[in-house]
Amino acid sequence: MIPLSAYTAVSAVLFIIGLTGVLVRRNFIIVLLSVEIMMNAANINLVAFSHYLESMAGQLVALFIIAIAAGEAAVGLAIIIVVFRGKISTNVDEMNLLKW
């Protein structure tokens, strides 16, 4: 029997990897991929707690998170296409149009 803490540890490691990716990488698309890693870490946590605490709510929230990840991917990629059309670059450092 796998202890619950093992699942939370895997999820924490994945979350840290995703956070590092968001902070370190400069390519907008890879930043979005790192956000997907973080969402998967949250999903692992939710499903593990749902299994060990014998409640269905965790799996439902994980489902909603997947739906929201789909929406985030669609809108994020549309923003990338708009930015890429104007500047021919997906470096997040060069997107400073809204900076004051």
């Binding site: 803490s5 840290i16 991929l33 890693i37 269905m56 789909a70």
Partner: protein, 175 residues
Amino acid sequence: MVGVFFTYFALISIAAGVLTVTLRHPVHCALSLLALLMHVSGLFILLNAEFLWAVQVIVYVGAILVLYLFVLMLMNLKTDERYFHQSALYVLGPAVLGASYVLYNLLRSPFDGAKGDTPAAAVLQDGDTYAVGIKMFSDHLLQFEIVGIFLLGAVIGAIVLAKTPKQLDTERGRS
């Protein structure tokens, strides 16, 4: 046996996550994210969540990741990006320390709490899909509807963002 599978899925998903963050070519990053998603779905199987496994494979791998790959190949990105911010090195040491402290505490802590109403035997009796469906369309119907509205808004927003406004203006000018 379950321990072997858990170790395999956990280690490969962590390795794939590291590769996703560190590889240079964006397409390689997306492909290693595919490996990560598939192994995370394996973890869902170990947790008796077959429905989420199917949703993960179909929606995440089949739709979201293919969308990312589509945009990557559409834009034909060259990756001459600076790899690290200079300031990242100063943060790295404390970050590693803090992360290992959190991990140590996570592995030691005995998680426990109030049990819910669906033990593993009840899930296995009718299947996970049945349990998820009953729960979703009885207690969580409002959230389901809200997610539906959210997805509609996301689709409309994506279309509005990604269409080309310039051509529309020239057409209006001509007519």
